[in-house]
Symmetry: C2
Subunit: 417 residues, 2 copies
């Protein structure tokens, strides 16, 4: 009855394996602070050493460590104080043998000095002598030139999503502009004769366009720039024209389809009529989310993801297939899986879906030391179970179910790619 039946369901892994055929988006250059959360498009080698000079890491006295060997409270060593290194300036003179200069934390050591004696282990005498009550080793209480990062060292590879501490070190290096991948532009089309814009009061039988807004928010959360293309009627030409228009302006097209079989078939025909269209997957072995379409359209080929009509299905497909697709387009090379996953104990038995990976919405709940995952059940036509959930538990293909008390990995609805 439906064209779905002519396709074999593909597994999630099979669909993910298709993604390398799509290229990351282009590159732009942005200011340092604007690069937060962006994905580096090229490695950034350190243009210079940090620190650039031998630097005190404690308040104290710059010394030749050898001058302090054997010093103790009972038998201190004595050094001649030759002045102070001002903050933010070069020392006015070196520290010769038997000499020392006061150095505040962060200041440059005078030439000759190779360590700092902390102020706590000294006393200044009125005659300009410093009493040193503890020895220091060479390099003690100082930062060596290049100790943080050496010129040419690559701490920032391409594909890295930049975090605050990365920007901190790049600031120290004087790197003020960075090459990053553009934000992927995502065109989102809503189809379905029952759908009206969210600003409209629905007539009987009509509903507001919630799925497109959910998908748009997911795209924004994951670093894409969503553009809502509005509601397209269930009409072949209208759908095809809207898709063709989106093709020129987007890096990814999402079509939030009607949930009826008729609407889905029409969407598929419109996709096939696009230039260069190739349907790569039609039907994925996940639940909810079976009626998902992945196509390549245009030249060079852009990805098009056709989402199921039920909101929970669409949201799961976006999490499971849309997010990795966006990560591919965004040029993201790293995976910090611990930011997206948490281990919890399942609070009730769950039956799996024969022949499909089953994604169950769960709410997390801390009880003492234990984190519980409470399944939030409900038809996939509802939005509220998603609102009440914190993430998804997957029952793998071929697994009959999970039992109460079992340790499960919860894929979090967390911000960021």
């Amino acid at each position: 009855m439906t064209s779905l039946e002519f396709f074999r369901l593909q597994t999630r892994e099979e669909v993910l394996a298709l993604y390398p055929r799509f290229s990351p988006v282009g590159v732009e250059e942005v200011d340092l602070l604007a690069a937060l959360g962006r994905v580096l498009a090229a490695p950034v080698p350190a243009p210079e050493d940090v620190p650039a000079f031998l630097r005190a890491s404690m308040d104290g006295y710059g010394v030749r460590a050898a001058d302090t060997f054997g010093a103790s409270v009972g038998a201190p060593q004595y050094l001649e104080i030759k002045g102070e290194v001002p903050m933010g300036a070069a020392p006015e003179r070196p520290a010769g043998p038997g000499e020392t200069l006061r150095v505040p934390t962060g200041a440059m050591l005078p030439p000759g000095a190779d360590a700092v004696v902390m102020v706590e282990y000294t006393a200044e005498h009125p005659d300009g002598t410093l009493e040193v009550r503890r020895p220091v080793a060479p390099g003690e209480n100082v930062l060596q030139p290049g100790e943080d990062v050496q010129q040419g060292e690559v701490l920032f590879p391409a594909g890295l999503r930049l975090r605050p501490q990365d920007l901190g070190l790049l600031a120290a290096l004087g790197v003020t502009r960075l090459p990053v991948f553009r934000h992927p532009r995502v065109a989102i089309l809503s189809s379905g004769d029952e759908i009206v814009p969210i600003t409209q009061q629905p007539a009987p039988g009509q509903v507001r366009d919630s799925n497109a807004h959910l998908a748009a928010a997911q795209v924004a959360e994951w670093g894409g720039v969503p553009t809502l293309q509005g509601v397209i009627p269930d009409d072949f030409s209208a759908l095809k024209n809207a898709l063709a228009a989106a093709l020129g302006e987007a890096d990814l097209i999402l079509i939030s389809g009607g949930s009826s079989v008729g609407a889905r078939d029409l969407t598929l025909e419109a996709i096939k009529a696009l230039p260069g269209a190739e349907v790569l997957a039609h039907g994925v072995a996940i639940r909810p989310g079976k009626p998902t379409i992945l196509a390549a359209v245009g030249n060079p080929p852009l990805p098009l993801l056709g989402l199921p009509g039920h909101p929970a299905s669409a949201a799961v497909v976006m999490e499971v297939l849309g997010r990795p697709l966006l990560a591919r387009l965004a040029g993201l090379a790293e995976s910090r899986s611990w930011e997206d996953e948490v281990t919890a104990l399942l609070s009730r038995n769950l039956a799996g879906a024969s022949g499909r990976e089953d994604y169950v919405r769960v709410r997390l709940r801390r009880e003492g030391e234990t984190l519980w995952a409470d399944p939030v059940l409900g038809p996939s036509g509802l939005l509220s179970p998603l609102v009440k959930s914190d993430g998804l538990v997957m029952i793998p293909l071929g697994v009959e179910g999970l039992v109460r008390g079992e340790s499960v990995t919860v894929r979090l609805f967390s911000p960021g790619l």
Copy 2:
């Protein structure tokens, strides 16, 4: 020698307990999609039922369930097909006893019908009769009016950070404008005679202003709007004037101080000279991060956080004290701790800091099923250990240390508050 000694070190909990004296920032109204990641300033009760009408959740036939009771493949029930409910419109007629109408997924059921028979369990005969081979219960394959959310129900309390699925349901409800807390404005001052702007080539003894950029990026990551106020020289009047100017334009003042004792004392004096100034904490029992200042300044009192000069210390203080402070100002009421924390096994022994909570940078590494936390050691004057880390492990006050193989909670450097 330092004014620190006149203060008792306060614990992290004692500092956090001071935050309720600061009020959340004001409220603004934003469009639905702009509300992503924002904190709701007032509860949003559902203005109407979703769904608004009895809705098919499967493709099939709208029936009176009672008409199908006892139906089987061997003894089907027969109903009269009275037409089809178009998508997005009210049914043209009811379904009387013995009658049925075709309904696509998502369409409104005809009056009288209380269930949908899936198309798979039926056959249409040429005479307009529907053969039903399986019974349905009342309510089967339909969504009831209000099943997702009922008018007046509050799924969105004040203090909630809005996620994509929240916006999806709000879209379905026709809520297109939302009251959210403003982004907290954070003025960031850099002090220290050794500090130069990041665009400048440092002379010997000078370093670029990395700490302020690190803090600014953290603020932005956590939903604040940072403003870099530039580098202020180590001069009482200059510091006081810069602080006073920031007072009028910010919800929180951060001062990224010099790391020397002299610079810190000067900063403290400048803070104390502000109108309404009250130093609430000077010295916190954490490592790194001891020389931290929390003050209330101005009227109404705004928080001012004085950060230590070492970059690792400043970053830890921002994570441990700055982030909860920003959460308070942002009006965030919920805590989703599982988004910030992960459990891992420590890969080596760690000694604690006597008398202070010790925060150790760790890098996470997956090895089969095991997540390892590898301590990244190094002086707190360095930035690169932060760059190489994924989070922090805390050794509690009074604990001598942690041992290799021990299960530890890693506080992630994760995006979002």
